[in-house]
Symmetry: C2
Subunit: 223 residues, 2 copies
């Protein structure tokens, strides 16, 4: 016996899947839908919250609820963001000093001068990913980024979580939509950290892909 909320969410989901409700279309207003389904407005809103968490609809205050275009899933490839034709990138550079989490991440003393690059990529109209990249200031960040020759190793830690309020508003996503958070640390062959990055990818529009080649002579080097 499913709850009313789930029943309504299921119905709307199939209407979207079958194209009965097309991408970009506005749903009837919440009071209208509540009347149609013979439920109260809070119940109807609960149903919509489910669809929102799945990235199927977008709620816009004062305008209505809209069926989202199924976003092409972009794939982050282990190592760097995939360059893409219709991917616009906005970059902001800031100088700051190491504090908090950044100290162990970059393995530097507190207050070490750092440069932060803030990347915000867009896929067409909608924000796609947020990246904060940190580099020690003495490591000539001018030519900058992507794969750099001195890199010897990159460690990427991937977690799934809900976005912080900041991230939710920057990426214009629901605060209930899961995001892929990647912490990437690149070191040179002396073990020195040459770059650390925190990437946030909305779960409804991004995957991460990691490819491991198994050399036939060496295998089983794991702990």
């Amino acid at each position: 016996m499913a709850s009313l909320r789930d029943t309504i969410a299921d119905d709307l989901r199939t209407q979207i899947a079958t194209g009965h409700l097309k991408a970009g279309a506005r749903l009837p207003s919440e009071p209208t839908l509540a009347t149609q389904y013979k439920v109260s407005t809070p119940t109807l809103r609960n149903a919509l919250a489910l669809l929102q968490a799945e990235g199927l609809i977008e709620k816009i205050h004062g305008k209505g609820n809209f069926v989202l275009h199924p976003l092409r899933r972009l794939t982050y490839k282990g190592g760097r963001l995939t360059p893409d034709a219709d991917l616009h990138v906005a970059i902001r550079m800031t100088n700051l000093r190491a504090r908090g989490d950044l100290i162990p991440l970059l393995k530097v003393p507190a207050r070490t001068p750092l440069t932060e690059f803030l990347f915000l990529t867009h896929q067409g109209e909608s924000p796609h990913s947020l990246a904060r990249i940190y580099v020690p200031q003495d490591l000539a960040p001018a030519e900058l980024l992507w794969c750099r020759p001195e890199w010897a190793e990159t460690r990427e830690t991937v977690t799934a979580r809900v976005p912080t309020p900041d991230e939710a508003s920057t990426l214009r996503i629901s605060s209930t939509l899961a995001v892929l958070a990647i912490t990437r640390v690149s070191s040179d062959n002396t073990g020195r950290v040459v770059e650390a990055a925190r990437l946030v990818l909305p779960g409804d529009r991004a995957d991460a892909l990691f490819i491991t080649h198994h050399a036939t002579e060496e295998r089983g080097t794991e702990g």
Copy 2:
């Protein structure tokens, strides 16, 4: 100006963080908390729903709301699940025939005989991860699993999403808690898929780690 829901959630969060509310403790009942915070029960329940989505509390119908023990984060290492001392594994083996998503995943014709290994790992009392591993039946799965000599390449696609109802009940997690879903495909050097796996890791208790070694002579082989 934060909403009442967020204010209450923040307050409870700090009470948990400071140890004012200890792990395992039962929170006061919802009507009691609603009175304390001078809000209605739905508003209070909205606040608790936020904490639940973050994996901080557990709601048990008929008993109360409980502060969860901060689970040690276990790390999935690119390639395989990390063996761990207090990690119990339950395995179930099933024979089936390829259908649906499994066909393109394993690159086999429909109805190819497959063997499914279902892994459910536990960290102490609580379920930790769910893995479904598929192997073509003609590929001698008897000695089975982990890293096998014939593997030439492993591709792992990582996404963040909410769990399916099935996954939520199997892993005993809230349906609003983000999970890390990893699809892993291993091929031999002829390109044949020798194993495909779908892993589900609850976002509050698992990370995935991928390590890339950059050979100095070859770099920038990405598209």
